[in-house]
Symmetry: C2
């Protein structure tokens, strides 16, 4: 099952043990790229902290890589390194491996986790910002022309602006002047993050802007929607390669949670009115988009290249309705722990990936049932007490002193 | 010499040992506010690292505070705490002292220092971002309605946009839509930082936006120009209260460096064409502006309040000419280590402070000669080898591999 690609590059995948990083690593390796995974196993350690675990039985990195060599006859090297803390180790790896591209997934990626407590806010800020800055500093210090591909989020746009289709990163604006003229400029889409996690991704954009401008680092930032699905062509080749599947209140993302809840006969948990519109992408398209990003680097001297990595948008209650009709599951409404509008419109451009050959994997009953089947197969591993969302966006209001 | 103020507040000054923090602390204490200084003495430690020191002989914190009590009959309490690293200590201080306002100067504030090496870039990012985030998290965790006053920089605006007077933080824009309509919005002025240091101040703005929106924290962000002058009314009361005076290539700011260079008969060092236009403020106005910010907090529910804390703009070569005419000093031109345009226009609004009673201390021969007199008095302490700027904005170009 070897795929062909005209590019054979050395690629370091930071965060290559995670939900998106692992299938991306296998996909790139299968295409013939020389893949190196760097990960500190933080996602597995957070499972320990939360006393939750992947519904699917994920294997240790050593077992995963051994299985991949047996199945695909390819080698992936692994370094256990905390890129936010161990700068010298990261720099050593870059100087030794001399990659053409670095894919950066090495950030804490759950909004509810980032809001759980002061500790979790501070961990997310410290980890995500130092990780991104260390990677950029190490690229500059290495003196090499390395293309950085970063996984961002459509959340950097906030929840959209009525009447505007969200562009790919840059917004054309006009500035009225005192003389009555208008000055046209193109700016980074104004930031309006909805959680500490999202805020760090907005702050990452400023790192990218600066290191691109000052040092000419070539950067592609992928503003990804909510990922659904669990397996890709490569992770299905052997059970030891299986991808993680999160269903808990912190790391479980909305559509996957609904499909898992249906599989274990647990009512679908909708927060607020369910009127929130979100952008989605299937995990198979995630790995394909990262491939396309690596194969289409910005030219030297180009500004930061931004792609919206999503294929469709849906309201949360519509997804609940769809899963309910498909599976017979009930829907239960809960208060929304997030501090956000009940209802929002969201229109997002994704022309750049379509123009570069992405053939989107859209929501279909077949694919949804595939997820439900995975969930049913491992239902005996589920801890239903982990399903409710417990993170609160604000502290219980205390008496505030008047001014 | 007691001043009167209708506000008597408990104020914590983070970074109260530094060039702006120390005179601010004395000014607020003199007004009758109850002042607490929190500082990790990092600026003194950086002096050790750089083998440079203040031209003026600054005294240890214990001596400073003892002198203040003797001179002014007021007490300032001091905590040695690294707010970027010691969150629990910071939280303890806030919960024990129960301040009405926190003034936040606790950031690495030199652009050249922030660009010296990978270590200095990483230190600046790690220190500044964690310091700001820790303060915000601690305010929220304390459950108290504390007004945060932060010292930012006019550098968050980049070097200005031709034809636009820089507003106070927020820019009115129009977004053209596909239907030909225009949507009006007010956004944070688009970020275009010129150094790692400036970048952290842009990233701070996103912290403020989020914690104001999510938790209702009341925040005033002061976008300050380049500070000149050395003493204020309070620091002149006793030599043990003297403020620091930096003249080295990293921490010395442009006008003070020129005045000191003139005093020691060293040619004025202009980088590039000297066509860079910068915003300026005298140290006496810095302390007065912080007072006005504390006395004019945003109302509960208000967005982040942003003031431009500067009183005039000048081209660097014009300042060099002025000092040269005043003192007879020569001017020497050197290559510009910064990665910036040779010439820029800069028009900055500062109406908010003027409307709240600031009576600006503008550049005058008398005040400039006062600085020269301070420099002459301590000229025997000068190490002329520390004057040249050595920080480079980019690495020496290495061979970049073609794509």
């Amino acid at each position: 099952m070897k795929l062909n690609s005209s590019f054979k590059e050395k690629v370091i995948v930071l965060g290559g043990d995670g939900f998106c990083g692992w299938p991306t690593s296998l996909h790139l390796s299968n295409l013939g790229h020389d893949v190196v995974i760097v990960d500190n196993l933080s996602r597995r350690n957070i499972d320990n902290e939360l006393e939750a675990e992947s519904l699917t039985p994920i294997h240790p990195m050593g077992t995963r890589l051994k299985a991949w060599t047996e199945v695909a006859d390819r080698n992936i090297r692994f370094y256990n390194c905390d890129v936010a803390k161990n700068y010298e180790h990261l720099l050593d790896i870059i100087e030794k491996e001399r990659p053409d591209a670095i894919v950066h997934f090495a950030e804490q990626r759950s909004a509810p986790y980032s809001m759980k407590s002061p500790y979790h806010k501070r961990y997310t800020v410290n980890n995500n910002l130092n990780a991104t800055h260390n990677v950029l500093t190490a690229i500059v210090q290495s003196g090499r022309d390395i293309h950085l591909v970063h996984l961002g989020t459509t959340g950097v746009y906030g929840y959209g602006t009525a009447g505007i289709e969200i562009p790919e990163g840059y917004l054309e604006i006009e500035i009225p002047t005192e003389t009555g003229e208008r000055i046209s400029r193109e700016i980074l889409y104004p930031a309006d993050p909805g959680s500490v996690y999202h805020m760090t991704k907005n702050q990452d954009q400023l790192f990218f802007h600066f290191y691109n401008k000052n040092d000419g680092v070539r950067i592609t930032d992928l503003h990804q929607g909510i990922v659904w699905g669990t397996n890709t062509r490569e992770t299905m080749l052997d059970e030891r390669l299986i991808n993680r599947f999160d269903y808990d209140g912190d790391y479980g993302t909305v559509l996957n949670r609904f499909l898992m809840q249906a599989a274990v006969h647990y009512p679908l948990t909708v927060h607020g009115t369910g009127g929130q519109t979100r952008a989605f992408i299937h995990i198979q398209d995630t790995v394909r988009c990262v491939q396309l990003a690596i194969e289409n680097p910005p030219a030297p001297g180009d500004r930061v290249q931004i792609f919206n990595q999503m294929t469709e948008t849906h309201r949360v209650r519509d997804l609940a309705g769809l899963v309910s009709r498909l599976t017979g599951a009930e829907i239960a409404y809960f208060p929304n722990p997030r501090n956000e509008a009940d209802e929002n419109e969201l229109h997002v451009k994704n022309e750049l990936f379509l123009s570069r050959g992405l053939n989107p994997t859209l929501l279909s009953e077949g694919l949804m049932l595939e997820v439900t089947a995975v969930a049913q197969r491992y239902a005996h591993r589920a801890d239903l007490s982990k399903i409710p969302a417990t993170s609160q966006w604000r502290q219980t209001p205390k008496a505030m002193r008047p001014i």
